[in-house]
Symmetry: C2
Subunit: 231 residues, 2 copies
Amino acid sequence: MTRFYPLEDRQLLAVDCVIFGFDNQDLKLLLIRRNMEPASGMWSIMGGFPRHDESLDNAAVRVLKQLTGLVDVYLEQLYAYGNVERDPGERVVSVAYYALIRIEDYDKHLVREHDAHWSRISDIPELVFDHRVMVDKALRRLRRKARIQPIGFELLPDTFTLPQLQALYEAIYQKELDKRNFRKKILSMGLLDKLEEKDKTSSKKGAWLYRFNPEKYQEALANGFYFSVDV
Amino acid sequence: MTRFYPLEDRQLLAVDCVIFGFDNQDLKLLLIRRNMEPASGMWSIMGGFPRHDESLDNAAVRVLKQLTGLVDVYLEQLYAYGNVERDPGERVVSVAYYALIRIEDYDKHLVREHDAHWSRISDIPELVFDHRVMVDKALRRLRRKARIQPIGFELLPDTFTLPQLQALYEAIYQKELDKRNFRKKILSMGLLDKLEEKDKTSSKKGAWLYRFNPEKYQEALANGFYFSVDV
DNA sequence: CGCCTAAAGTGTATGTTTAACACTTAAACA
DNA sequence: TGTTTAAGTGTTAAACATACACTTTAGGCG
């Protein structure tokens, strides 16, 4: 192969992945105990090194799968962190991603192996390097996007109730919402299919189950519709 | 120095910079003729390689300065492009930035040296590699942000008229706006200082000059204000 | 078996924001 | 002094966001 670019200019590149989950109460973050120097033993988000023959996106998918066993989940690039001193061991440029997963789906085995745990976002321990900056950026991104794109559903099971959906938005925005206005707005978008089944785990009366319908969303988009939730 | 990470995993890293300007008519893009293999001679956005001892942001600032002579302009990271095949010469991860500059301020000498020219965004030639993808993403970002943050002013001279400002928004969104509604909205935010001077370059009557006041914006922000222009 | 409890579900009125729309004013120049 | 050209100005109707309280359901328990 012809080499066009200077050899000496190669840099160390990493990907790091902020992983969000929702346990029907709180928005949570999956953190691991770092098992690599420097800063071994500290809390950290999951990371890895992209191989020469894989894209950044692929590396992020691989990292996420390593920790959770999950593929085909919502995963989006966040930002590239390139301060010289961000990793005290050595200059490493890190491309951060964030993922939204259904919290009951992850592989408990793998998580235990990595000494990982779920942390409430209101209660995040000290993190290694600039990982806290990444997490804060991921949260801001999630908060911006969840208003205007139907990504919240990625954090819920396939079927869910309206009170569950509302609790999710309340957890994301740390803000109580009006039940009537919330339901009105969500249902008026016409993106949910109502099932003929109730979930009774959180009340005697039970709440109707719904399912997000991506086809309806795509069709609405094509007709100039904009998703929007007021928070 | 102790080395913590594997040596063989280093990658080639670049920064590329989408540069926007506004000539009171059209939103424009500063493109160069690439003078490096592969694809020498093709249109391209300006790029460079971050040094080991400089941050990504710094590298982007340096690249922008190299082409325009400008420092202290609006510059924001866009996205990290990491497909394996994006550069046919060799695997290069590129972190793209975009800049908003005042089009009369750039260094004509430097631009000539780089064989660069301004292209209307409605009339962009074929670009090298994935640069068109970067440009499109920069445009979407600009369009999203210019609605909700006062970054449009970065493309205008220090003092400007309301018709000029409106023409800028019309160029960004490729959409005609209602003069009365636009002026009402802009002025109601109370972020502009009206000067006692008119600009007569585009009409006999002349249009009053205004200046964006960043202090007023900061104060408003602190009081819960949100910038917003309807387009 | 009926009463209590706890969460689910429902509608209206008011205020705010957006969108649509046409004429007057100013000043240069013929 | 009339003509031309862009700058500047308000009002109305519709859509949307916000605030707010009672009824329904069904399980559990006395």
